[in-house]
Symmetry: C2
Subunit: 122 residues, 2 copies
DNA sequence: TTGACAGTTGAGTAATTGTTCAACTATAAT
DNA sequence: ATTATAGTTGAACAATTACTCAACTGTCAA
């Protein structure tokens, strides 16, 4: 344990552990991007949309009926998902069909659900 | 395509797809819990803490120095992580050491990072 | 018992965010 | 061209939330 004088209100830390962790922890930007990625999945409306699109491509109206929300609300959330490259879309006449753009997402959702289910049994 | 009269502002939907998706989509509560889980990971401070704890157990001061934040701010976020069963802790004298409580989290973080890295090459 | 430090907690504040509303664009049909 | 419907977009509002600050508890040492 060593004295320190950082901007935080701490006086004693385990500097050996700190050094080790500083070396191995991912870059600031990568962690930031990762947190942003999880933040996008961390809204129940977007999570429902993602699950639905994982099962089948759907148009905005389909999603609006499924979630019992307005087209506008769905479209806003699809826009967020689009910005984060989680969904892709194709236009067919007046309709726009959305689907998942990345296979990782399914795996992440499944792992997350495992965690949820396991926690429920504690 | 069929006429509908839901509370949303849609008139025509693909009812066959809707029926299929409704049958397969997870329960409302499970999706809600999952979104909450991702929401917890979706903050850069908490994401940094989780990465750090994945590398080594650390006390509050260690984390405060590592992230250059106050003990209070760290403690609040640890509290959130605790509530969501993502970290566990042990007291040793005046210090409290935190560590990850669930092996799923590491896998989920790694999958998420894969997604980020892949996206960066697009 | 008193002082020092690690950590927690609750209230308050500033910033973020999900939805609504209204106006808009795009496509197709008459 | 006009009308109708699918979808998008920006502003505004309400709700959430991350951090600060100050006061607090818990543990150890003298």
């Amino acid at each position: 344990m060593e004295k320190t004088s950082f901007e935080c209100d701490c006086e004693v830390v385990h500097s050996d552990i700190l050094e080790q962790v500083k070396k191995q922890i991912p870059e600031e930007n990568d962690i930031y991007d990762l947190a942003d990625f999880f933040k996008v999945l961390g809204d129940s409306t977007r999570a429902k949309i993602m699950w639905a699109l994982d099962l089948h491509e759907m148009c905005v109206c389909d999603l609006a009926v499924l979630l019992n929300m307005t087209k506008s609300a769905i479209s806003h959330q699809l826009s967020t998902l689009k910005e984060n490259n989680l969904v892709k879309f194709r236009r067919e006449g007046k309709m726009v069909f959305y689907s998942l753009s990345d296979y990782h997402v399914r795996e992440i959702f499944e792992k997350g659900m495992e965690h949820i289910k396991e926690e429920a049994t504690l």
